[in-house]
């Protein structure tokens, strides 16, 4: 035994802009000037130059044939490289090693690279997300060049990406990464209106608060932002900011919504960006600036996040506003009492909702995604932190990503049902920009039986969603 298996690993990540290098024909020039960021720094300059050179060659070669979009990936026998050109001349490149299995056959071991287990659509999405996350905090690369200089840009990249790369769990990414979706919490009318009132009141009282978003646990209840902007904010909140704070909180916070107790009445409302301890604060502390892009122009905001019990309220304050400690104090005084009653209502509503029975391997698992509002629901994933904590086998998830890829050939509306060699059934349906995937593990089931089961599930899980009849 002793077979060595390896998961997908990050080999390198770099950003370059050929325009910063020597002019064409100038062979003596310093090629390294093109490179704005390179990970890992342990690769020597020769390797860095070669890697960038290859990408430049590939970009040029592929353009010869007029592809419908710029080059997105390179497959070699052991590696996968993904490309993204977010701004003119800037290329962001991610290199991954293919997963490996070692097989022992007749006493000889052989290493096999599982090319198909590294899916382009998943990692292209991860690469784009890395850039968009950078852009959320620093604006475009060009913006930094225009307002500051090249060295500042390099420094910002260094600080941001080095930390970001450490935080992504590269081998646990799957179809959810492609969606980059948002989880919403549906509520009863009264509670929802209460929240909307609360938000409207704040926005009119402090008119420099341009937008507000309201979350309960990791679910959005209200967001005044465009979905595309909210998408990155949501990734940041659920992926970085909230988990870091939940750990430090004394109570409440991370409890799943179904078990959140309405008896917790003590409130611990506080700012988690800004002055985190208002009583002792002398300054306003750290408030991140974010850049939002959806409304056809770049807008700069202070992102102030307030958290009480399981609720998180995000305020997007006009970037030009000078923030003062007193504003925070006033805001806190206003929010604190109102929020605890709202949270109680939400918790009460949630506890009344039917709790899905504990899942067995035979329970069908599903993933739903709506491209219009970026909403997703998954009973496959036990959390949304890419921990690999999933309720079906990884191959079924990969089959879903395959289907997502091939569904593009089916046009706007289509459905597909497949049976894998280990007797899983995977179903997919696309209609009205909504996507629905189901995994069923039923031995000895027939296609007809599974089709009926799928139909039933669509009716129960998606009863209020209109699918074009097929």
């Amino acid at each position: 035994m002793g077979g060595m298996n390896k998961e997908i690993e990050l080999q390198s990540f770099f950003i370059f802009n050929s325009a910063f290098g020597p002019k064409e024909g100038d062979l003596e020039g310093d090629q390294l000037k093109k490179i704005l960021y390179y990970y890992p720094s342990t690769d020597n300059t020769r390797v860095q130059e070669d890697n960038v050179g290859l990408v430049e060659g590939i970009v040029q070669f592929t353009q010869t044939f007029n592809p419908s979009s710029p080059v997105s990936s390179l497959h070699t026998s052991k590696l996968r490289q993904l490309y993204f050109q977010p701004e003119p001349d800037f290329w962001v490149v991610l290199t991954l090693t293919l997963p490996i299995v070692t097989k022992v056959k007749e006493n000889a071991t052989s290493v096999e690279y599982l090319e198909e287990d590294l899916q382009d659509n998943v990692y292209e999405a991860a690469l784009k997300q890395a850039y968009y996350m950078y852009r959320l905090f620093w604006g475009t690369f060009q913006n930094t060049l225009d307002k500051n200089d090249l060295d500042t840009l390099k420094l910002r990249m260094e600080i941001f990406f080095t930390a970001y790369l450490k935080s992504i769990k590269i081998s646990n990414l799957d179809i959810l990464t492609i969606f980059g979706g948002i989880q919403y919490l549906p509520l009863d009318r009264q509670t929802f209106l209460n929240i909307q009132c609360f938000v409207n009141f704040i926005e009119s009282k402090w008119n420099y608060i341009a937008h507000t978003a309201f979350l309960y646990n990791e679910h959005i209840i209200w967001s005044g932002l465009e979905p595309n902007d909210m998408q990155m904010i949501y990734q940041y909140l659920t992926g970085t900011l909230l988990p870091a704070n939940v750990e430090t909180e004394l109570q409440g916070g991370s409890m799943p919504r179904n078990t959140a107790s309405p008896f917790i009445s003590l409130h611990h409302g506080r700012f988690i960006t800004g002055p985190t301890n208002l009583k002792q604060a002398k300054t306003i502390g750290k408030v991140p600036k974010v850049y939002l892009f959806s409304q056809g122009q770049v807008r700069e905001y202070h992102l102030v996040v307030y958290r009480a019990l399981s609720a998180t309220v995000c305020f997007f304050i006009e970037g030009k506003t000078e923030l003062a400690l007193n504003d925070f104090k006033a805001l806190d005084e206003f929010i604190n009492p109102k929020l605890s009653s709202i949270v109680n209502d939400i918790a009460e509503y949630c506890s009344k909702q039917v709790v899905t029975p504990s899942s067995t391997p035979e329970t069908p698992k599903f993933i739903y995604f709506n491209k219009l509002n970026l909403a997703y629901k998954s009973s496959v994933h036990l959390d949304n932190k890419h921990t690999g904590n999933v309720t079906c086998n990884k191959d079924s998830l990969r089959v879903m990503s395959d289907m997502k890829h091939t569904n593009s050939y089916l046009g706007l509306d289509g459905e597909n049902i497949v049976k894998t060699t280990n007797d899983y059934w995977v179903f997919s349906k696309t209609s009205n920009l909504r996507e629905f995937y189901i995994v069923l593990q039923q031995k000895n089931a027939s296609l007809i039986g599974i089709s009926e089961e799928v139909k039933r599930l669509c009716e129960t899980e998606l009863d209020r969603i209109f699918f074009h009849p097929m």
């Binding site: 592929t62 010869t64 497959h75 382009d120």
Partner: protein
């Protein structure tokens, strides 16, 4: 589901070597030396090589006039028309010499060949594919050549690699791998086009062929429908006429891209990939219709190191089936010509020619005509005999066969993903519903009307399998005859 024990089309003796279409292409099934030594006949391999060089160079000479005309044409290589071709194929030697380009003149594309070679070397020979929007770029290294496909057809990397393998095999079939390697060992920057004039046309045709025929994707052969007694009697006539001829390895009778009969030397089997090359040769070479020909031919999957010699002729003016007699002897044209005459006489006497003609003229019926109104088209492949059957095209695919073939290619790819193969898939779009099924014994791909419900589709599939089973002895080549 369907009521039979053995899948339709299965036979006790396999006529062809059963294989998966994506399997390792280098594996050969046989050895010419073995045939030679077993039959203890002269093995003057070296002399063979020389004679073929001569004949090939004669052809080169004849075609030189043709290439001058080409040079007067405008620079198609820079035009948008050239850029937007759906599938480019390039062949370069590892030393960077242009060998083949599907569109445009290789010499004018020298810069592009340079770039491709550069990328290949720069990536330490490991580059497999590049993806950019609708365009897929596939690289295949087959020493001493590098083959590249640039495609906007939506075909996946495996399908394109398969086609590049066919192109390589087409080149090998003219030169043998032994000779190809030797040429480059001796002179790394040799201009292979000197030896390959005429092969261009074959490669062109092969590529068109593989874009229009499901046979390549399935790695299987389709037979001309004939009553079993009829096929047996034809095979027997061929066998009897050739039984006295030493070292005859294969006798192949084909028509209309369909196999009619295959008789082979004991213990030796033909690989479907080789048979595809033979079909291609016959289809692409109009001149074979007018006279008997004698041509050296290497079958790469059979033995890529040496030539077989083929006597190629059409049966008669009134019967457009083509007979190929393949031997390891390089100077038996006349005995084979006599044998052919004998075969034709007997076939004529036994009314076999008439039956072949009837079947050639009739072709397959559409699924609709055979009582499956919701079934538009299907492919059935029997795995053990690597033979397949497809009905005639019917609307909406009659005008756009390529779309149907690409549909099948996608379905096939989906079923055969190396790490996640599927057993079954039912896919529905607003245009059609595609049912794919891969079992131990067979593969089935069926295209239905889009609105068919699942139960009727399943019902139709099981009726279809029974229908095929009932006609298996007509649709497939079941009995193997040997010399």
């Amino acid at each position: 589901m369907a009521d039979f024990d053995v899948e339709p089309g299965a036979a006790r003796d396999n006529v062809l070597v059963a294989s998966e279409s994506f399997e390792n292409f280098e594996q050969m099934s046989s050895s010419l030396e073995e045939i030679m030594s077993v039959n203890a006949i002269s093995t003057a391999a070296e002399i063979e090589d020389d004679t073929t060089t001569n004949t090939q160079e004669d052809i080169t000479h004849n075609q030189e006039n043709g290439s001058e005309i080409n040079e007067k044409q405008e620079d198609v290589e820079n035009s948008l028309d050239w850029t937007n071709k759906r599938k480019h194929i390039f062949v370069i030697s590892t030393a960077g010499k242009p060998i083949y380009s599907r569109y445009g003149n290789e010499d004018k594309l020298a810069w592009l060949f340079g770039v491709m070679l550069g990328l290949f070397r720069y990536s330490r020979d490991s580059i497999k594919s590049i993806h950019a929007g609708d365009t897929t770029y596939v690289f295949l290294s087959k020493k001493p050549l590098i083959l590249v496909a640039v495609s906007k057809t939506g075909e996946c990397v495996n399908q394109l690699t398969l086609q590049l393998n066919y192109v390589f095999n087409q080149i090998v079939s003219m030169l043998t791998l032994k000779r190809l390697t030797k040429i480059y060992d001796e002179k790394a920057n040799y201009d292979l086009r000197r030896l390959l004039t005429g092969v261009d046309r074959l490669i062109d045709h092969l590529l068109d062929f593989s874009e229009n025929e499901p046979a390549f994707t399935l790695g299987a052969i389709q037979c001309l429908p004939l009553a079993i007694s009829e096929r047996d009697s034809i095979s027997k006539i061929i066998k009897d006429a050739c039984s006295k001829i030493r070292n005859l390895v294969f006798a192949i009778l084909l028509g209309n891209n369909r196999l009619i009969s295959l008789v082979q030397m004991k213990k030796y089997h033909l690989h479907p990939a080789d048979l595809h090359l033979i079909f291609n040769l016959v289809q692409a070479t109009e001149s074979l219709k007018y006279s008997e020909s004698w041509t050296p031919l290497c079958l790469p999957r059979f033995d890529n190191s040496g030539y077989l010699y083929a006597h190629v002729s059409y049966l008669a003016d009134d019967c457009q089936a083509c007979l190929l007699l393949l031997t390891v002897e390089k100077d038996v044209f006349f005995p084979l010509s006599e044998a052919k005459q004998k075969i034709v006489e007997k076939l004529r006497m036994g009314n076999n020619l008439e039956h072949i003609n009837t079947s050639l003229a009739a072709l397959e019926e559409s699924a609709l005509a055979t009582g499956f109104p919701e079934l538009r088209h299907y492919l059935y492949k029997c795995k053990s005999t690597v033979q397949f059957y497809q009905p005639a095209l019917c609307p909406p695919y009659t005008k756009n066969k390529v779309r149907l073939i690409e549909l099948y290619k996608r379905a096939h790819q989906k079923m055969h993903c190396p790490t996640r193969p599927l057993k079954l898939s039912f896919e529905r779009s607003s245009d059609e519903a595609v049912f794919s099924w891969d079992t131990k014994g067979f593969e089935l791909y069926a295209v239905f009307e889009p609105l068919i419900d699942t139960a009727s589709a399943i019902n139709c599939v099981s009726k279809l399998l029974n229908w095929i089973k009932k006609r298996e002895d007509k649709l497939f080549h079941l009995n193997a005859y040997t010399f």
